[in-house]
């Protein structure tokens, strides 16, 4: 098997290193929160995961537009890889959120606007993958997936708005929260440093996963080509 190129190798090692440092900061450097205690530390993983999932779906949206305009298959591979990575982070966000919500809200799940919108968004991208699996012609698959990636991404903010008009209890840590939010807190400077570092780490991790996933897809394609060559020879 051919080795990943230099840039990817550096990215892999850098992400691993950053992740170790970020974990150290979260557990050793960041102070304990007064009312929620240790469980608040999950916030440093939960929010960056959520951010990365939005970033991933934004990349799919942009790559979809680029594919429809130019018809370059690379964009289709990026779009599809980004959805898969995005769904991974979506699941991480939901799981870490539930673990936090059990002690903080006294329930694993609530039909809060953010939680509901987030779940709907996850379902849109599960549908995206199912649509891809249901189509055989690769060119049509790429076109339809690009269209659905665009339509789905545009609908997410509207969904959020429509559900937000019921009151929310999800805390807004950055910026002003609603009066009914439960479990919010003010960040000290140490918390802020840890949070920003964690955010940066997860962003790097996203690009690392994406680059590896795109590489895998390209390798799979090479294998297909080699197989076809072997059969025809």
């Amino acid at each position: 098997m051919e080795k990943p190129n230099r840039g990817l190798q550096i990215l892999n090692i850098a992400s691993a290193g950053l992740l170790v440092v970020a974990t150290g900061l979260v557990f050793l450097y960041a102070p304990q929160e007064r009312t929620m205690g240790e469980v608040q530390r999950i916030f440093y993983f939960h929010v960056p995961s959520a951010w990365v999932s939005f970033l991933a779906f934004l990349v799919t949206f942009v790559a979809g537009i680029a594919y429809l305009r130019g018809g370059n298959r690379r964009w289709d591979i990026v779009a599809r890889s980004s959805v898969e990575v995005g769904l991974l982070f979506t699941v991480m966000t939901i799981i870490t959120g539930s673990i936090w919500a059990r002690p903080a809200w006294n329930t694993w799940w609530t039909w809060d606007p953010r939680l509901t919108t987030y779940t709907i968004m996850a379902l849109i991208y599960v549908a995206y993958i199912m649509l891809r699996q249901g189509l055989e012609d690769p060119e049509r698959r790429a076109r339809f997936a690009a269209v659905y990636g665009i339509v789905g991404f545009i609908s997410v903010p509207i969904t959020f708005m429509s559900i937000r008009w019921w009151r929310t209890i999800h805390p807004v840590v950055i910026g002003s929260g609603s009066a009914t939010a439960q479990g919010g807190f003010d960040m000290t400077s140490r918390m802020l440093v840890t949070f920003l570092f964690s955010l940066f780490t997860f962003t790097v991790l996203y690009f690392c996963f994406l680059a590896n996933r795109v590489r895998l897809e390209n390798l799979a394609e090479r294998v297909e080509q080699l197989k076809a060559k072997l059969l025809s020879a």
Binding site: L131, G134, L135, R143, V147, Y148, V151, S155, I158, W165
Partner: protein
């Protein structure tokens, strides 16, 4: 202008292809007028074709109607609608929209699947008209079929649950909600029919994207049925209008890519 109106309908293929018509160096008002009338005549021809086919077979409308009635019936047993007089407005608006959306899914799927199975979709695409006109025509046709079902279901529900549903504002909300649903649904159905599991694909693609329509329509309908003021109904109606405008525009932009072969 007089020469345009004397032409036969675009589907007759007697007319000059729009795409091949020489593009004038300077666009005048009459050029735009000609383009617009061509567009709407083409869309109208698609609607007329769907309507004529349906008038002959009557299979789509009857299926949607019977299905809607069955859904209402099942909700009646599942939720015991009669007993809870106090929350009737909220519950009925929910039942109403779930019924419309389920029936709409059947209609959308059939309307596009029939085009593909009979090979008439290829014929439509060969017609020398703007492809968004075909999209517009199919959307208008689906909207019409859903509206016909709703026109029958609404009075029926009013009688069954002893609750007046024929409020003019409610009819407006029903129209706006159906428009948004049909606009997105037609676009997604034209993709879903190519998929392997096409009957289940449409709802999976459509429901998560159409949630804003459902939320806004249910909330607005419940507020209207509970005789609330405009300050409670208004935001939802605005949201519906916003959704309709955004998604009709998006569908117009991307439909060409869906049918491009």
């Amino acid at each position: 202008m007089s020469e345009v109106s004397s032409q036969k309908p675009v589907v007759n293929s007697q007319t000059e292809p729009v795409a091949a018509a020489p593009r004038p160096a300077k666009w005048t008002a009459s050029d735009y007028w000609r383009l617009a009338t061509d567009f709407f005549r083409a869309a109208g021809a698609v609607v007329w074709k769907d309507l004529a086919a349906e008038l002959r077979s009557k299979e789509l409308l009857s299926a949607m109607l019977v299905f809607s009635l069955l859904v209402v019936l099942i909700f009646n047993f599942a939720l015991e609608l009669e007993r809870s007089r106090a929350t009737l407005a909220t519950v009925v608006s929910g039942v109403l929209w779930v019924t419309f959306i389920f029936a709409g899914t059947i209609g959308l799927n059939r309307s596009l699947a029939m085009e593909k199975d009979r090979g008439s979709l290829d014929g439509l695409l060969l017609a020398p008209v703007d492809r968004s006109a075909i999209y517009f025509g199919k959307t208008a046709g689906n909207l019409l079929f859903m509206a016909l079902v709703e026109v029958i279901i609404l009075p029926l529900l009013s009688v069954l649950f002893n609750l007046s549903l024929l409020h003019p504002l409610l009819l407006l909300v029903v129209l706006l909600g159906t428009l948004g649903y049909a606009a997105v649904g037609t676009l997604l159905a034209s993709m879903a029919i190519h998929s392997r599991a096409r009957d289940v694909m449409l709802p999976i693609l459509l429901f998560p994207v159409a949630i804003p329509v459902l939320v806004a329509s249910v909330k607005a309908s419940a507020a209207i049925l509970a005789a609330a003021g405009w300050d409670e109904i208004g935001p939802w109606v605005n949201l519906l209008i916003g959704y309709d405008v955004i998604f009709v525009a998006v569908a117009f932009m991307v439909f060409d890519y869906v049918v491009e072969e």
